[in-house]
């Protein structure tokens, strides 16, 4: 490889220098977090934790899928202590892939309700994200609304807007519907939704909210914090929120949550961080910065979302969403819900 000698001579020293440069070691206590959550939320939380405890937090952000594969490939030598992500499905899969370890924590068992944590205590919810019905106030009277299933009725033909089935939020919603209603009934409902669509499915919840607001459709299904953000910016938008299925199982909730990784070099430090994230201080930041609902019942929701009132949530364990996510995806493909 004579042809390579020159460029290699240039590249190699740089590489060596970089190796030395990047592999520094830390002296104070450090907790290493792999996170798929949005940085503008977790940064204030971690900054507050460091200020309070002196513990340094090292964060690596990526999408859920690659993060799980990363943990798996690193195996026993993984530097990560904590995995933070959205959606119960992702946490359920992390647990099933053997990437998390059980936690024994009285603090977490007190702060986090039983339906919002892993039955094996491998992960805990840190915020609640309710997915419910929104409507255009000019066209729809809330008395016309009742359940997710009712949006499949012919009266909503050409009036429904949905986000794509490829988003995990919809997969989790349909997964819990399968758990309660069974595959057959759920498929009928999803087919009904598809038949009622006003336009192609949207890429994100914000687009659904805009479309309902502009009258492109009259009803839609979104996570409440997207609506809170939209109303925070434009309080005059004619979009109302309706709590779905209140007379029966309750509104579908998903979570964001965390667990201590199986190979954590600092498992105790990781557990302390998660416990702190469930505390009143941290839970206040979750709801005030991001309009999500706190898991800790001692913390009041942010004022923007408080006036939507209390709601009855579906008490099915959120891990069901993970278990049935594949079934939900296949069902939606069969029903033609893109």
């Amino acid at each position: 490889m004579k042809t390579c000698s020159k460029p290699l001579a240039l590249v190699l020293p740089t590489v060596m220098a970089a190796l030395v440069f990047f592999t520094g070691s830390a002296s104070a206590e450090t907790v290493t977090v792999y996170s798929a959550r949005n940085e503008q939320l977790i940064k204030p939380l971690f900054d507050a934790y460091t200020k309070e405890t002196g513990t340094k937090i090292q964060v690596l952000t990526d999408k859920e899928g690659p993060l799980l594969e990363r943990l798996k490939a690193e195996g026993a030598k993984s530097p990560a202590d904590v995995l933070i992500t959205v959606d119960a499905g992702n946490l359920w899969h992390a647990s099933r892939m053997g990437l998390l370890q059980p936690i024994k924590s009285g603090v977490l068992n007190t702060n986090v309700p039983a339906n919002l944590r892993d039955p094996k205590n491998e992960w805990y919810a840190l915020s609640i994200r309710a997915r419910t019905i929104i409507y255009n106030k000019k066209f729809v009277n809330p008395s016309q609304l009742s359940t997710y299933e009712a949006l499949a009725e012919p009266e909503w033909k050409g009036k429904l807007c949905l986000r794509t089935s490829k988003k995990v939020y919809n997969q989790s919603l349909v997964a819990t519907m399968i758990a309660t209603l069974g595959e057959k009934r759920t498929e009928e409902v999803v087919r009904g939704w598809v038949a009622n669509l006003a336009t192609e499915v949207f890429a994100d919840d914000n687009a659904v909210i805009k479309a309902v607001g502009a009258g492109q459709c009259e009803v839609g299904i979104v996570n409440t914090y997207y609506l809170a953000r939209a109303l925070d910016k434009d309080p005059n938008m004619p979009v109302g929120l309706f709590w779905a299925n209140q007379k029966e199982r309750g509104v579908h909730v998903n979570i964001s949550g965390a667990g201590v990784t199986r190979a954590a070099p600092n498992a105790a430090g990781g557990q302390r961080l998660i416990e702190w994230l469930s505390s009143e201080t941290a839970q206040g930041i979750y709801t005030n910065d991001d309009f999500e609902y706190p898991v800790n019942s001692k913390v009041k929701p942010d004022s923007i979302i408080r006036h939507w009132g209390p709601y009855k949530m579906d008490l099915i364990n959120v891990s069901k969403a993970g278990e049935l996510q594949g079934n939900a995806t296949r069902l939606m493909d069969r029903a033609g819900y893109r």
Partner: protein, 541 residues
């Protein structure tokens, strides 16, 4: 001393030489291919029944549409700015490259935001005309093709322009002397001569189209890549996803081999040129100006204005002391990658020129396939072997009582290797097109003098492919600035770039909050664009 008999000059070394570079791409490819040892019949049955028929048709339409689109836009704009003269030519010749710096997903998001039912255009129409139902839907096949064409035409424009500048006018003059009209001269002489460049540009545009996920998902347009991510993120079946990705790679490989066969034995050599531009007449002159301005407006000015509006809105919440660091990281990484990948591309092309055996040619083709794999899949393919090797090294270090968490992971070495695996095609195409310009006589002469491959490279090939090298380095630089999945997967802790910032801001659908890092990416991408233009214009008077 290198003589003909020297072991270094032995022709049989071709495959090995090529392999040394191709390994960067081949190792992750093999990891992806290894998924076939883990058959996923159930997932396949489902995908084949409900998902694949639709996405295969969509992908076919998209590839044909974008292929024709970039061919038309890229070649026509390149011809106009390289060979003709019309008002604003100088300005357009560089500004038409700017869309290269605009990430495709940003362009897609902005155009969908503007042109969809809820956007300002249709809202305005409704306010004045009462209805906008006649307005063609942007979230449609036509919309995706249009936006991806606008996002990816610069690849063809850059390469074709390179070809036309160096040989276009001379070719037209020669053809006219032989009695062709100017129009015939373009079609029969200039265009065929620029074929390797144009084909290289279209190849890049189509590979990027096939690997794209971000832009098509904004349109809710399902392609083959959508199916790959569905298998992975929705069915949690990475094996099935990897198998789908392997099929995608094989299709690209087959197309590359066909392209190679078609080009077989053609030579694209020309001599020096006399630069006198064709002055367009009145009507044509202003049409050219309007055409260029229109493309520049839709592909660059409009999204740029939208980004600026958002930045004014959000910069106070977002801007902090870390931004200069993000910018520095981005420029440094992109700069290093541009140098490394361009050098590798040059070596690969030189090897291909020197060793004409089928094995070498195939390995060279394989080396450039990383660009067609969806980025996230390739990132995992890169990370798995790196993590494995790292674990062995950490164990070894443990025996030496060296307590360390990671050795290769999070090192610049791994980042550059992974980025090379992705972007080798980007550097290779322009360099190889330029390399084909070196005449057979020149090559033969060099070899008959007994020059070693190294000397042929240094004294003949290198000076003659300068333009190709610059183009290669520019595109790699800009592409790395925009790249997300590999940077996310291989970067060290806390070592964030602008693209990482864009990812973090958009992961919850907050596009306006990503405006600041997006704008910074575009602005940083402008520097090399302007530099390149200065260089490529210097041949003209």
């Amino acid at each position: 001393m290198h003589t003909r008999g020297s072991i270094w000059n032995w022709r049989g070394w071709g495959p090995l030489r090529a392999l040394a570079i191709a390994a960067l791409t081949l190792i992750p490819l093999i990891v992806v291919l290894a998924s076939f040892f883990d058959p996923q019949l159930e997932a396949w049955e489902h995908l084949a029944t409900y998902v694949l028929p639709g996405v295969l048709w969509n992908t076919f339409v998209l590839v044909v549409g974008v292929g024709l689109g970039v061919l038309f836009l890229g070649v026509s704009l390149a011809w106009l700015t390289a060979v003709c003269d019309f008002p604003g030519r100088k300005f357009f010749s560089w500004s038409l490259m700017l869309p290269l710096a605009m990430p495709a997903y940003v362009l897609a998001f902005v155009q969908v935001g503007l042109l969809d039912f809820t956007g300002p255009v249709q809202s305005f129409l409704r306010a004045w005309l009462g209805s906008s139902s006649w307005f063609p839907p942007i979230r449609s096949t036509g919309g995706v093709v249009l936006v991806l064409t606008l996002a990816f035409y610069p690849y063809v424009y850059l390469l074709a322009r390179n070809a036309f500048i160096t040989q276009g006018l001379r070719a037209v003059e020669a053809a006219q002397m032989l009695g062709y009209t100017r129009f015939q001269a373009f079609w029969k002489v200039a265009l065929p001569m620029a074929r390797p460049w144009i084909a290289g540009g279209v190849t890049l545009a189509l590979m990027e189209t096939l690997a794209d996920f971000g832009s098509v998902s904004i349109f809710s347009f399902d392609t083959f890549t959508t199916a790959i991510y569905k298998a992975w993120f929705s069915l949690f079946n990475l094996s099935a996803a990897s198998q789908l990705a392997s099929l995608l790679v094989m299709v690209v490989l087959v197309l590359a081999v066909i392209d190679q066969r078609l080009r077989h034995n053609r030579r694209y050599a020309v001599k020096s040129f006399t630069p006198v531009r064709i002055s367009l007449q009145r009507g044509a002159k202003w049409s050219a100006t309007i055409f260029c301005a229109l493309i520049l407006a839709i592909a660059f000015a409009v999204p740029m204005i939208q980004l600026l509006v958002w930045v004014v809105d959000v910069w106070r919440e977002d801007f902090d002391a870390r931004y200069p660091v993000f910018l520095l990281h981005s420029i440094w990484l992109a700069g290093m990658a541009a140098v490394v990948v361009t050098v590798l591309g040059l070596l690969l092309s030189a090897i291909r020129q020197h060793h004409k055996d089928a094995t070498t040619q195939l390995i060279v083709r394989l080396a450039t396939l990383g660009y067609a794999i969806p980025g996230t899949v390739l990132a995992v393919g890169v990370f798995i072997p790196v993590a494995w090797l790292d674990n062995q090294l950490i164990t070894l270090a443990g025996w030496l009582h060296w307590d360390v968490q990671q050795i290769l992971k999070g090192s610049l070495f791994v980042m550059l290797a992974a980025l090379s695996a992705r972007f080798l095609a980007v550097a290779f195409q322009p360099i190889d097109a330029a390399m084909q310009r070196i005449t057979r006589n020149q090559g033969n002469a060099a070899r008959s003098l007994g020059l070693s491959p190294k000397k042929v490279l240094m004294h003949l090939q290198l000076p003659m492919v300068r333009g190709g090298l610059l183009t290669a380095a520019l595109i790699v630089f800009v592409d790395v600035m925009k790249e997300m999945p590999i940077t996310l997967m291989t970067r060290p802790f806390g070592w964030d770039t602008l693209a990482v910032r864009v990812f973090e801001m958009t992961s919850e659908g907050m596009w306006d909050r990503a405006a600041l890092p997006s704008l910074a990416i575009v602005l940083a991408g402008l520097l090399p664009v302007i530099l390149l233009i200065k260089k490529s214009e210097s041949g003209f008077h």
